[in-house]
């Protein structure tokens, strides 16, 4: 006990004590977080270390838990949409879409053509901003400070553009049951048309500067293998599973909206390591740009919301419905039970990050502390989404 003279002061809370029960003698129990630079917000991970090797780890959630599911039970269908903007601050539009889509499916509502295109355009732009945020933050986790500034440069452009159709910069809640809240104008289309070639021209530079960097490659290649079977047991989706070689994308597997009209590929990497997930996300920039190009060309004129759009007092038919969309982090879905009144009887939000993070404990076992940071970052965590 000479090592920690005041050990009795540092007994830890319920979770630490629960974790300590299985600890090996002579190992070091370490709380990483909730305030730690690379846990991306207030995630806490209890680690058992032997030197710098991780024997065991256990994420502790709940520091950002806001009980959106309970809030849903007391809000109207329309009033719950802003909550969707706050579930995942990195990529809120798929959440918008998941909830609105579930309600539309339940009530059998058809969405006007132009609204569908606006949804696709804004969602794909949101996917790019989310991946840019991840990219910068991930490289920051690996110790390089500069790329996040470059990423934010591009992200800024997109955020400025997205202000018009969504009315905000971060917590978008612009979708409505039966359409979208705001139309896009010519200035927006022009800005987007200018952005696409510019961003495309930046991508080779990122590859040279960051992806091909020898230190980065050594840090992420063959780190954190997640074979397909492991992904299946944990229900991982999104870039995590595509980085393990499976082309599973809700936009193709379970087409929603008008995604079946666009020509795009589902990038995959079969290395299963952090580099695979990294490359998948970088390749998704290009695919999102392709969808954006096509959508901007095809967008028709017309109304942006259905006639007689639901009012706050609107009541859908009773029944249950499950609706999934492809968010930036994977399968984002909403399960809704309606009893035919103004507010849902039960809302269940399925966050992709929740399942992806539950994989971490197994993937990080036996790795070095620095590798655990690399694995954690490669899962692309947004804590508010996981805690909901």
């Amino acid at each position: 006990m000479t090592r920690y003279p005041n050990m009795e002061q540092v007994t830890g809370d319920f979770y630490t004590q629960n974790f300590e029960k299985g600890a090996r003698e002579g190992s070091l129990i370490l709380n990483m977080g909730p305030q730690h630079p690379s846990t991306h917000g207030v995630l806490r991970i209890i680690l058992e270390l032997d030197g710098e090797y991780i024997l065991r780890c256990d994420p502790v959630l709940g520091y950002l838990h806001r009980m959106h599911e309970k809030m849903g039970e007391s809000k109207t269908y329309r009033g719950f949409i802003p909550n969707m903007g706050r579930v995942d601050y990195g990529c809120p539009l798929p959440w918008n879409w998941a909830f609105v889509g579930a309600v539309e499916k339940l009530a059998g509502i058809e969405v006007p053509e132009r609204a569908e295109y606006i949804r696709v355009i804004t969602t794909e732009m949101n996917r790019i901003t989310s991946h840019l945020l991840w990219w910068g933050a991930y490289i920051l986790d690996l110790g390089a400070f500069t790329p996040i500034m470059y990423a934010f440069d591009e992200r800024e452009w997109l955020l400025d553009l997205l202000q018009t159709p969504t009315g905000s910069r971060l917590t978008y809640s612009s979708f409505r049951v039966g359409g979208v809240g705001h139309d896009i104008d010519d200035k927006f289309i022009e800005g987007l048309k200018a952005f696409i070639p510019y961003f495309r021209s930046r991508l080779p530079m990122y590859k040279d500067l960051v992806t091909d960097n020898i230190i980065l490659r050594k840090r992420v290649e063959d780190i954190g293998p997640m074979p397909l079977d492991m992904c299946r047991r944990y229900g991982a989706t999104g870039p995590v599973i595509r980085g393990s070689g499976l082309a599973y994308d809700i936009r193709r597997a379970e087409p929603y909206g008008i995604y079946d009209r666009f020509d795009f590929e589902i990038p995959t990497q079969d290395t299963c390591c952090c580099m695979g997930r990294y490359k998948v996300r970088l390749a998704e920039f290009e695919q999102s740009l392709r969808i954006l190009e096509q959508a901007v060309d095809q967008i028709p004129d017309g109304p942006i919301i259905m006639d007689k759009a639901p009012k706050p007092s609107w009541k859908p038919p009773k029944g249950e419905v499950y609706f999934a969309v492809e968010g930036a982090r994977g399968k984002t879905s909403v399960y809704l039970v309606s009893d035919g009144t103004k507010s849902p009887y039960r809302v269940k939000l399925r966050a992709p990050g929740f399942s992806n993070l539950s994989l971490f404990a197994e993937a990080a076992q036996g790795t070095l502390l620095a590798d655990a940071v690399a694995i954690l970052g490669s899962l692309d965590l947004i804590i508010p989404e996981i805690d909901r």
Binding site: Y4, Q9, P37, F145, M149, Y150, K218, R219, L369, A370
Partner: protein, 323 residues
Amino acid sequence: MKIPIELIRIVVALVAVMAWVGLNALLLVYCERKYAGHIQRRPGPFEVGPHGIIQPLIDGLKLMAKQLLMPDGADAILFWLAPILSMIPVLLLFLCIPYSPLLTGWEVNLGLLLILAFAGLNVLALLLAGWGSNNKWGLLGAARAVSQSVAYEIPLLLAVLAIAFQTGTLNLTEIVNGQGSWPWQWNIIVQPLAFLIYFTSILGETNRAPFDLPEAESELTAGFHTEYSSMGFGLFFMAEYANMVVVCSVATVLFLGGWKGPFFDGWWWFLAKTYVLLFVMIWLRWTYPRVRFDQLLNINWKWLLPLAVANLLGTAFLMKVFA
């Protein structure tokens, strides 16, 4: 009693050095933030003074104004000893750097040896800081600092030794005098490998990115100085910059011809060369990701050390052949 002139000179020099260290730290902080800003396509500090020029001064004032905090259960003596211990040896090192033939605080015959000896003390400060602060992150940082410093000191010494072999002296002034004014007369032309090894090792010795593992903030929050605030942190901070200046000055002396340069020899050449090297160190930090700890040690034991030994043996052999 007559006070020896040498003693007066040292005291005066010491005062001058303290001022110089402080000034250097301010200048380097400003440079680092400006460089970083421009590398990242932003202007850097811009608000305080023209182009943010007095930003570092305000930063320093802010640090001094903050409360000194010590965590519960920390070893008070070790905890406060550490930042002081990190600062004092560096001051001593500044004394014996020859900025120009006349501008040397303390002319020592074995100047090179003195610098190497005292530069190695810095790691003790990191150890005590990490251990004394009763923090597991600090402890991990200290453990990293030890193995890193033990590892990187060896190729550093071997690379320097090759120069000592070649010039046959440990006196810094004489080493500079052995080189000419023009770049092709500098030691770097004769000993390029030694220079590369030296430069890589000083990144490891001064804990600068990509080898900044003892304080790797994305892994160990802040490593050994997690618990330090106010001037405790400020001293570590200043010592880090002062150490950078020292190792770059030594590199200038050993490899880049010291104060000698085309047309007009003088201290301005010395400062210019030192600051170019410092700029490279800063540039590296804002460009590269951090290596992993086992990779760091692998680079040292599998590449730098054998190369340094080979370089030393080669130097000795050639000296024997051509002498």
